[in-house]
Amino acid sequence: MDKRALEWDYEIEGKDFRNAGKVSSKVKEILKELGFDPDFVRKVAIASYEAEMNVVCHAEKGRLHFAILPAVLKIVVEDRGPGIPDIDLAMQEGYSTAPPEIREMGFGAGMGLPNMKKNTDELNIVSTVGEGTVVEMVIRPPLSREGSG
């Protein structure tokens, strides 16, 4: 197995709704090109898109780091923003602090973090109020690829 990790870094601009989703679109294209299972690609794309939208909706700016490691796929989204005061509360389905303009776009239903949990094998959130949030997601491909066993 190739020990080299494949890694990418993308910037995410807060409140840039026109370009929101571009980064996750790239993540999805990369995985598709590499021939990953379509259901796995869909799960990763959803988790990445939810995380990206959170940065666009709530933060000033952020960065998505995406790495294909030998056995797992890892996405780390860091932002500079208001932070999450109560992560347990934010994890509850339906809890949202999104302003009306975000809801008008079809988001802000309080499903983002729970949906990230649903589509990933590990979800870790570290947040400091007034500074920002780091979301780390680990997703395992359905079958370990040849030679990684």
Partner: protein, 105 residues
């Protein structure tokens, strides 16, 4: 049709309807056709993420040019109907389209 690829060959068996993109993103089995009353570019992005193959805008609503051009880029055909959401869905269901449970009746 608002836009379709020249070589459009698409077979659709399963549809879903939502105005809330969060709902589309939380479906564990996605529909192939999305009916929606939302017309912004996030509809296209959301469709792209969950492998939706075509989008129908209901109630005579039309997306702007930028949204249409994003759909072109992603190869997602766009349709429009004057029907409201319920009637558009009902007509498709009567012609045999199912939802994510795989059955309508």
């Amino acid at each position: 049709m608002l836009w379709e690829p020249v070589d459009l060959q698409l077979e659709i068996e399963m549809a879903e309807a939502a105005d809330l993109m969060s709902d589309v993103l939380t479906q564990s089995i996605g529909g192939e056709l999305l009916l929606t009353g939302l017309v912004n570019s996030h509809v296209i992005r959301t469709a792209e993420m969950v492998d939706i193959k075509a989008i129908t805008f209901i109630h005579g609503k039309r997306p702007d040019e930028k949204t249409i051009s994003l759909a072109k880029q992603k190869g997602i055909p766009l349709l429009a109907t004057k029907l409201f959401l319920f009637e558009a869905c009902a007509r498709l269901a009567m012609r045999g389209l199912t939802g994510s449970s795989g059955t309508i009746w």
